[in-house]
Amino acid sequence: MIQTSPHAEAALTCTLDERSLYLRRLVLGSVRSAGRGHVGPALSLIEMVRVLYDDVLRIDPKNPRDPDRDRAILSKGHGCLALYALLADRGFFPLSELDGFCGPDSILGGHPEYGMVPGVEASTGALGHGLSIGVGLALAARMRERSYRTFVLLGDGEINEGSVWEAAMGAAKHGLDNLVALIDYNKLQSYGPTDYVLPLEPLADKWRSFGFAVQEVNGHDVGALRTVLKQIPAVAGKPTAIICHTVKGKGLPAAESNADWHHKNKLTDSELDAIRVAVGDF
């Protein structure tokens, strides 16, 4: 059974501020334009990506390949609409690109591609790849004596993949305290509840036993995320895992904790009306 966490309870009830609503409007605008998109996985992720790009990552949108930049990999590539919204808002590419999502000549595909999208560090979409790549980036920083840090955002369904746990062992072996894994723990994967598909609990204990310093947080609480992410590494000499308790589809009542909104095709007029009520006109 999924253990009841105060962070999970808080994630269900917490309200969203105007910037979080604005980012959701960007995401849902892309979905409306394209007539498709992974809505639920993006909406659970928004505050995690927001705090990273607004407050934590040392990055320069005008110099996205700066060797000293922090690296961030969206390992759950299907959550890319949240990443695209942040990258566009931060100036990595024009906001107008969001309207072309999944279009034939767009740089923005249904999963993010390195070399296509400024600010995207690795092509993801096949699950279970990002943490290993992150281990390589973090190990390279260590070997080259560079100060950049590596952040990898993982889905909870994604960590069904055994390769994630191989990577976790590797990160711990090398004591990569410049590596942070953020787990979007919305407790709902494509088919249904994580607890039904492949139970993850006790999740914090798993990461701890794999050699990580573990933090748990309400993944929609911007202030709490800032606090946790500004205390990296949580423990010197250990990689950090931050379990972000989130709600799939957060911010849209119809989509919240609803597996039918994992991937959404054309939005109906009544759904568009409901979205406007929830996040404002877009």
Binding site: Y114, G115, E121, A122, S123, A126, G128, H129, G130, L131, S132, I133, G134, V135, G136, L137, A138, L139, A140, A141, M143, R144, G162, S163, E166, A167, M169, G170, K173
Partner: protein, 319 residues
């Protein structure tokens, strides 16, 4: 061949600080000298091939040139998606050094026999596939891997294979080596089938059949120019490979000829392993012999094919 390739990693590491050795769980003492001289660049990362490929991609993104090493089947089958996505899609300079290509691990059974590795590696965009024939060629090949742009799959033989390559042949990735001029027959080989082809050519010569040999150490990119040049002068084209019939050297040659020659195709004979897993053990040699890939069997197959081509259809296929 394996020791030579390993020692070359050490040699390259001494010359270039980008070079890393990454093993999963190799034999005790693998590259011990390198581990002492460059401990931070000699990484043993456990039986976790999917992770190792991803990690190597991350290191390559930061400018390192990782040489990843384990048994061929584990370096291909186990982590195919990581090879496809992390290495090939990103086009990163990671080198996969595959121990025991083909039937080297004959006694260990089908889990360890890499009989379709060329096909699945060759199918990936951006991947280069190289099968050296002997230790000397492996050394020349390794020299060329340092600055090659994308990923490379290196299929190593057993070790102790007869040295048949020569320094004057040189080595250039993607450039086939004409070992004998084309005659009635042209054999196109890769890896350790070259030694069998040379012996078969001698047997055929004793029968009055002139057999040329083109050593295609690089299966991808295939040396189209050398192939087209060589087939012009021959009556029968024969491909030899320690591999299943689909997707390997024979397929690559046939595809190229169809694309380039259209209807003017030469008579062709593809000699390979059958399309099935091996359920016999023994040795690499005994399994090759069992499946018609000894020098004697190759020569016999070619004689039969030549006879058939005089009397019937020019399109021949045999496995």
């Amino acid at each position: 061949m394996r020791n030579t390739a390993m020692n070359m990693v050490h040699k390259l590491a001494a010359r270039d600080e980008r070079v890393l050795y990454i093993g999963s769980d190799p034999g005790a003492g693998t590259l011990r000298a390198m581990s002492k001289e460059f401990p931070k660049r000699h990484l043993i990362e456990g039986i976790s091939e999917a992770h190792i490929i991803g990690m190597s991609a991350g290191l390559a993104m930061e400018g390192f040139v990782p040489y990843v090493n384990t048994i061929a089947t584990f370096l291909t089958r186990r982590c195919y998606e990581q090879v496809a996505v992390d290495l090939c899609l990103h086009n990163l300079p990671v080198r996969l050094i595959a121990n025991g290509g083909g039937l080297v691990y004959a006694p260990l059974g089908p889990t360890h026999q890499a009989i379709e590795d060329i096909a699945i590696m060759r199918a990936l965009p951006n991947m280069t596939v190289i099968c050296p024939c002997d230790a000397d060629e492996a050394a020349r090949m390794m020299e060329q891997t340092l600055d090659w742009k994308g990923p490379i799959y290196i299929r190593l033989g057993k070790g102790g294979d007869a040295i048949v390559s020569k320094a004057e042949h040189g080595f250039e990735i993607g450039k086939a080596i004409p070992m004998r001029p084309p005659g009635d027959v042209l054999m196109v080989t890769t890896g350790i089938m070259l030694q069998r082809a040379l012996a078969a050519a001698d047997l055929l010569a004793a029968q009055g059949v002139r057999a040329g040999i083109l050593h295609m150490h690089t299966v991808k990119p295939l040396d189209t120019e050398a192939l087209l040049q060589a087939v012009r002068a021959t009556r029968l084209l024969v491909t030899l490979e320690e591999h299943v019939p689909s997707g390997g050297l024979g397929s690559a040659v046939a595809e190229t000829l169809i694309d380039k020659l259209g209807s003017g195709l030469p008579a062709m004979l593809r000699l390979s392993l059958p399309d099935r897993f091996m359920h016999n053990y023994g040795s690499q040699d005994s399994l090759l012999k069992k499946h018609g890939l000894s020098a004697n069997a190759i020569a016999t197959s070619i004689e039969h094919a030549l006879a058939a081509s005089r009397t019937s259809s020019p399109q021949l296929h045999s496995t």
